[in-house]
């Protein structure tokens, strides 16, 4: 259960933090209810600005992966699995729509890839 930030990486630090925490929550490394370090603590540990961590936490909260319980801090949310399930359902729905419209798998994948990168 560790997290790293590489100052030389082309990926912005907030995205390194967000994606790593999201991965650990989704694959169950960070169990539901696990307390995350405070924004200030994680910022100090990783040698980056607190705003950077705050942004990563905000995005994780918006995605339903973590929840903030006032002064008690941030915890891994119970909706982590639900989020993945929602994405799977949306993907199935998208695949059905693409099929109905006569769009081939390669083109459908390219559209999704472009959407993810935009």
């Amino acid at each position: 259960m560790i997290i790293s930030v590489d100052a030389d990486s082309k990926v912005p630090p907030y995205e390194q933090v967000r994606s790593e925490l999201a991965r650990q929550i989704n694959d169950g490394t960070l169990a539901v209810g696990t307390k995350l370090p405070t924004v200030r603590r994680l910022a100090a540990d990783l040698g980056i600005a607190p705003n950077t961590i705050a942004r990563a936490y905000r995005e994780l909260e918006e995605a339903g992966l973590i929840e903030t319980r006032g002064r008690a801090g941030s915890f891994v949310g119970s909706s982590g699995d639900t989020s993945r399930q929602r994405v799977r359902e949306a993907a199935a729905e998208y695949a059905a729509v693409a099929h109905r419209m006569g769009i081939g798998p390669d083109e459908a994948l390219a559209i999704v890839t472009a959407a993810l990168r935009s």
Binding site: M1, I2, I3, S4, V5, D6, A7, D8, E20, L21, Q24, T29, L30, T34, K35, L36, P37, R41, L42, A44, D45, L46, G47, I48, G73
Partner: protein
Amino acid sequence: MNVPVDDAGLRRARRWLVRHGAPGQEPDRLLAARMTVRERMRHQLILHALMLAFLVIGFAVLREFVRFSVAVDGVELMGPLLLAGAYLLAAASAWWLAHRKRRAEQRIAATLPRRTAHSAVRLPREVLGAPFLAAVAVTYAGGVALGAGMLLFGGHLVDRVLGLILTAGTLVFGVLTALVAGEEVRRPALADGDAALAVDDLLRTQDSHQGVPYSLPVALVMSMMTVSPVFTGLLLGYVAVALLLWGATYLTDHRRPLPRTAAEPTR
């Protein structure tokens, strides 16, 4: 990492790794730099202890030529007061050295291009460990209780003054130990990978135990100064039990094995 590391630092780091169950592993520059900082602090601690000893001895010698006296109701209290002064100086030295070590390591941290931390909170009791918490409880709560007992029930003024010094000094040291341990638990991680983070966890635990239980030598000296044989027995018993617990804590720390992740070098 742009921190100068010499061969002696690397040798110290190698020895540290062997002691903690990772023989044959080549230490990285980060561990060598941290070992160098610790060695410097150890030298300073010895220097402070020597200075304190010279100060006490010098004062005792000076008293042979110049008569100082602090007497209450005809009872000479210079000895207990000298002990209290040495107690305070030792407390200040311990806090200052811990502070300097953290500052030196923060400078090393600033040179790391990659930083690693735990993604979940580690509770203070996980960092500090049960033997240390037991040793602290016996040393500080026990010391304050014993000192208060001497203060309240001492039949002689010397015993009451000794009780006051033991209570106040142990309280001061208890707060100081809690501060040092708390600062170590809260200090930012200093690691650039999995293995370095495991090393950092172990160093954090060891550092949080570095508060020297000065109330034990003070209690030992007091056991020779007290008038009542009951207090002599209680003080000696207190020192013996606390020493056993601190011994267990330091022995555990000294040989505590690194987690498996640290058995492989980071670079």
